[in-house]
């Protein structure tokens, strides 16, 4: 069983600041982390490997410092890692990103056939969730999104049983292998990394590829050039006027609010008990 997990280095969006004058991200204001959903993706691969044996590879695209998230993945339990890093990838939207990653996956697959690809549901900086299914289409394997449980991996029959989250509930899907899963956070809990993993991770040096390492790559489909979408403008939505402020000390504010609520007879009433 060879599982490839696609991971992304993201700014911690909880902390990041935006320059109010230029409307751009101040990337220095936030530490770069392994996208939280991808951490769960690596963890799920580890859980699957416990049952099936095999190898976990991680793949990322980003600047050279993105090797940090590959090391982090090794700490969680991945066996090896690949980073594709090249100026030609810069400015890629989801379509160009899935193209670049699929070229790396083709290369990995050639050397060591891939049985399953796992991605996080989305990255917290882009929040799109579009790259995973895009990769699946390019690799011509079934995408299964919003996975909440990998119930069974049948290596003999080359099938998996998956629970996929829906708007109202979930569905149980059987898929042929290889396939691509994008997973929800609730699928597992990140476990503490055992000491040997941490030591391996600290010393681990991922393989780094540039565009020139790929075969049959169409440069026109990479990076900004290969991206059909562009950001037209950034704006802070017009601030609505806001409502009435209830002034005074806490008791006074609460009293005013209660009066307002009690007047809203179209919204709520307190009925005498029967």
């Amino acid at each position: 069983m060879h599982i490839v997990v696609c991971v992304k280095q993201v700014p911690d969006t909880k902390i990041i600041k935006i320059n109010p004058k230029t409307n751009t991200l101040d990337r220095r204001s936030a530490p770069a982390i392994l996208n939280p959903y991808d951490a769960h993706a690596v963890q799920e691969a580890v859980k699957i490997r416990e049952k099936t044996g095999g190898t976990i590879s991680v793949l990322s695209m980003g600047p050279p410092q993105a090797t940090a998230v590959i090391k982090k993945s090794v700490e969680i339990g991945a066996d090896n890692g690949f980073l594709i890093s090249d100026r030609a990838f810069a400015g890629a939207d989801t379509l160009a990103t899935s193209y670049a990653l699929s070229k790396a996956l083709e290369k990995i697959n050639k050397e060591h056939p891939v049985d399953m690809i796992i991605c996080g549901k989305h990255a917290i900086d882009g929040d799109t969730g579009q790259v995973g299914p895009g990769i699946a289409r390019r690799m011509d394997i079934p995408p299964i999104t919003n996975v909440i449980e990998v119930s069974e991996v049948n290596q003999k029959e080359k099938t998996v049983l998956i629970k996929r989250k829906l708007t109202n509930g979930y569905e149980l899907i059987q898929s042929d292998l290889p396939c691509l899963l994008t997973i929800e956070k609730e699928i597992n809990e990140i476990e503490y990394s055992p000491m040997p993993n941490m030591i391996t991770a600290a010393r681990y040096e991922p393989i780094i590829w540039a565009v020139s390492d790929f075969e049959n790559v169409e440069r026109s489909q990479l990076g900004l050039k290969g991206s059909p979408t562009i950001v037209g403008k950034m704006f802070t939505p017009p601030r609505p006027e806001g409502g009435k402020r209830l002034e005074g000390a806490a008791d006074e504010q609460v009293k005013q609010l209660m009066e307002i609520l009690m007047e809203k007879k179209d919204l709520l009433t307190i009925q005498p008990s029967k």
């Binding site: 969006t13 990041i16 935006i18 991200l25 939207d93 989801t94 379509l95 989305h122 929040d127 799109t128 969730g129 579009q130 299914p133 895009g134 289409r137 394997i141 999104t145 996929r164 989250k165 829906l166 708007t167 109202n168 509930g169 979930y170 569905e171 149980l172 899907i173 059987q174 042929d176 396939c179 956070k185 059909p228 979408t229 562009i230 950001v231 037209g232 403008k233 950034m234 704006f235 601030r239 609505p240 806001g242 409502g243 009435k244 402020r245 209830l246 806490a250 504010q253 609460v254 609010l257 209660m258 609520l261 809203k264 179209d266 919204l267 709520l268 307190i270 009925q271 005498p272 008990s273």
Partner: protein
Amino acid sequence: MSRGEFYMNLDDYRGVWVFIEQNDGKIEGVSLELLGAGRKLADKLHVPLAGFLLGLEIKPLANKIISYGADIVYLIDHPVLKNYRTESYMKGVMLLAEKYKPEIILYGATPNGKDLASAVATDLNTGLTADTTMLDVDIDNRLLEASRPAFGGNIMATILCKKHRPQMATVRPKVMKALEPVSGRTGKIIEEKIVLQEEDMRTKVLQIVNDVTKKANLADAHVIVCGGKGMGDVQNFQLLYEFAETIGATVGGTRDVVEAGWLPHHLQIGQTGETVTPKIYFAVALSGAIQHVVGMKNSDLIIAINKDPNAPIFDVATYGIVGDALEIIPKLIEQFKQLRSVKGGEISYA
């Protein structure tokens, strides 16, 4: 399709389309909302609005789609399309889109809508904007302006797709408004045939389990008490449960609160959680980041409680209390308990 040097005659593409998501013959609410939003775009562009749907025995739904604003309904009926699967559904969408060449396709940002749109965008080699919350068109160059909260949600970004067609976007449920249905409204129904073999499918849906208990809480709640990181810690957060219980409300939380592990993810309100439209929304000790506000701003009555007088939540609140939630909430609990003991009954919501 050649993926080489790229050229597309944009003028070949006309019309606004909405993916009509149906499960077991029932149309998802977001699809009707998108017919409302799509109608405005189509009128601005002077083109027809079409709804397209795939499934088994779905023809009876066509008139409903027309009554909600569509001029044309495209449909493909096939046993293999009975349940949603990426592979079979995308084949159907590809067939329709390549034959009729719409300039815009909108999908609900549901699990299936997002899944389908992502796959279709890859094969059509076109742009897709995720989780849009505002839609408009620039009539001069016929560009779809799809806007969404970006970078963790404190700013909006308008995404454009200038040289590729169709321009596609997934749109958050409950953000757009459906039109009032007009019975007897007429439109064209176009049925296409597709060749699909079950044996060729690499995935099978073995079982669909409806579990509405979790969802129903937030989506159907009349009153929501939503807490933010300003509650301080998970112990203080329990105060909101007590308040919610007193007034018969449902508790939700911001992204920060869920990421801190104070609440499970299905109770998250905002761009990457649930979108809610209750009668009364208490926003307690939360700042009001854009990604949160898009998930609750259509509530009827919004009451914000926050220590920071400059918190953006006060801009969307109907009433604002600048104060410490840990002081205000116990007083509110006290007031409601007294009221109930005086009147002796339950609080009910219209």
